[in-house]
Subunit: 101 residues, 2 copies
């Protein structure tokens, strides 16, 4: 049994994490403009945290769950960590559901 798939579905089994993924689909529409970097690199943890309305530690943890599942990737720029979607992972997941699951 494929434990990677299981990890992906667990990562998707949370309302806030699903919301974060949707926000990251269109950062311009979902977040205020970023001063220190464009949205190409992603959105910084602080902005995601403000929008989610949960504590910093919880959102940081959620982002690393999404990252371990391969659904997002992060880039450190200075003191900020920017997270963005890994679209390839979603395409693969879509195919997995059509063939594997």
């Amino acid at each position: 049994m494929n434990s990677k798939q299981l990890e992906i579905f667990k990562a998707l089994s949370n309302k806030t994490r699903l919301e974060i993924l949707q926000w990251l689909k269109d950062p311009e529409a979902s977040f205020p403009a970023q001063v220190h970097a464009g949205f190409e690199v992603g959105v910084c943890v602080g902005e995601i945290q403000r929008k989610a309305g949960l504590t910093q530690s919880t959102v940081s943890e959620y982002l690393s769950i999404l990252q371990r599942a391969g659904l997002v990737e992060s880039t450190r720029v200075g003191q900020w960590t920017y997270y963005k979607r890994n679209e390839v992972a979603f395409e693969e997941l879509s195919k997995i559901i059509q063939s594997d699951i």
Copy 2:
């Protein structure tokens, strides 16, 4: 809003439930021949339970979780309940991942 999606991902967040879905993809290959009905109607709870190696109550519960998520459907025939995959749900899920998530 996306609570149906959440329910689906929760249903998929369990090793045994994922296995059951895969067994149901090819019942002929996964289960012994059924005496009281062909595999078109699905596979009865008892066979799934034996293969899963968990208790009857747990497997019954798992099947109803999958059913509430819309991933399987059941047919009662006499004293048996047969479960089969709802392939439409998987096609829809695949599309949801391409567009919604």
